[in-house]
Amino acid sequence: MKPAAFEYHAPRTIEEAVGLLAEHGDDAKVLAGGQSLVPLMNMRLARPRVIVDINRTRGLAGLGEARGMLRIGSMVRQRAAERSVLVASRCPLLREALGWVGHPQIRNRGTIGGSIAHADPAAEIPAVLAALGGEVTVRGRRGPRTISAAELFVTYLTTAIDARELLTEVRVPVMPRAAGWSWMEIARRHGDFALAGVGVMLAMRGKVIADARIGLTGVGPIPVRAAAAERVLVKQHPSDALWQRAAEAVRAAIEPEGDLHASADYRRHVAGVLTVRALREAHARAGAPRGRAGGRPRGEAA
């Protein structure tokens, strides 16, 4: 046996799941795709007393669009979102970032909600949520509440979701028509967590940038939305010099930490380089037709 013993529940309804979480509180862990939790359990770094497995819970796997938002049930598998025509057409930045999450075997089980609730500081999906200003719905005993991306991520592996609450839905704003996008990432090996990664959206009005979004991963305890860099871009004419100024604003806004894999200076440098590349690509794509085929071939290594 790899994991320590636990009490296992597989609730069929959201109410039942929320009831179990209310009852067991901090002793319980929600099991979604299990691609982060189960490795921790197998290594006994996590020893939850109670597992609430929501893989058979109804009402968590919807994927749709309403009021300018892409609505993704928390249990939608990353692979399903990656293959979804709706995601590709409404939020191609998310689709592109999903191609960098682990490997296909991981994405076949891993879920959109699980990645957000786990809040790994080098994960892709939280950075997209932060960049585009998304939000999530969580359900507790007292009913649902909405948490914006800006309030959601607290620190490493920690969110504003209470142990007694269940993440039920993720909402990502639909990108403006003809907006350009780019996800760029450097990792030691393909499928590893990012040393640094950046997601960019650029919307043009004529020859001027109307809206810009920049989200970064791997450069601090939580995903970073580089609002100062966005302000550098808006109402300006695109140019390489402008991209460099935005990259400087990104470098100023982040406080990466060094570790075994990369120094803090390296991460800061790379975050700027990736920002320039991503802005260039997003600008080239702005106005172009969008679809599944859109984008650079995946798997481009550092």
């Binding site: 046996m1 790899k2 994991p3 320590a4 013993a5 636990f6 009490e7 296992y8 597989a10 299990g34 691609q35 189960v38 490795p39 359990m41 197998n42 290594m43 597992i51 497995d53 893989n55 692979r79 682990g102 490997h103 296909p104 075997q105 991981i106 076949n108 089980r109 090996r189 393909h190 499928g191 071939p297 995946r298 798997g299």
Partner: protein, 203 residues
């Protein structure tokens, strides 16, 4: 915790087992169902040796608990080769045949995982480029580092699997899961070196 009775459907056959909820699917497949073709390397989702198909999709069986797999259609490496009903010699699956022909295995420990990953990968992308093959296999590690020949074997196997509507229909029966509509239109790629699956002469 109290053990539970589970029924797993593996390669079309039902297996009953009594397991604790914490018992991984990989351990249950090996120890309770006796199907030891599925290997365990890292046991935390990095190496890909334990890859199986669950409802047609490649998954790491060390990151699932057996209790989660009830009702699912599971496929392991044992289900790839075809055993004739008359009890004759089993015939290798075309992907296995390609690994054999192209020396796609050295010690063989990682091979079951590579094979199962390849089954799902070629179903979704019957005619991949080399780059796509490398990316598709990136979640599987070979400690012998025999990647060149593994990539060659997958390239050779591509297109052989689903080159006719009949093969495509059989592939759907064999592997289950979603199809992307690409199947059945492939170009038949058979050469003397890569003859594909050989039909046995009738006895």
């Amino acid at each position: 915790m109290e053990p539970r009775d589970v029924t797993l459907t593996i390669n079309g056959r039902a297996y009953r087992a009594r397991v604790e909820p914490r018992k991984t699917l990989a351990d249950t497949i090996r120890e309770d169902c006796g199907l030891t073709g599925t290997h365990l390397g890292c046991e935390h989702g990095v190496c890909g040796a334990c890859t199986i198909l669950m409802d047609g999709e490649a998954v790491r069986s060390c990151l699932l608990f057996a209790v989660q797999a009830e009702g699912a259609d599971l496929r392991t490496v044992e289900g790839l080769a075809e055993s004739p009903a008359d009890g004759g010699e089993p015939r290798l699956h075309p992907i296995q045949q390609a690994f054999w022909e192209h020396h796609g295995l050295q010690c063989g420990f990682c091979t079951p995982g590579f094979l199962m990953t390849t089954v799902a990968f070629l179903r979704d992308n019957p005619h991949p480029t080399e780059r796509e093959i490398r990316e598709g296999l990136a979640g599987n590690l070979c400690r012998c580092t025999g990647y060149q020949n593994i990539v060659k074997a997958v390239a050779a196997a591509s297109g052989m699997l689903t080159s006719t509507p009949r093969r495509a229909a059989r592939a759907r029966r064999t592997y289950g899961g979603a199809t992307n509509g690409k199947q059945g239109g492939g170009v038949r790629r058979r050469t003397p070196e890569h003859p594909g699956r050989q039909r046995k002469p009738p006895a």
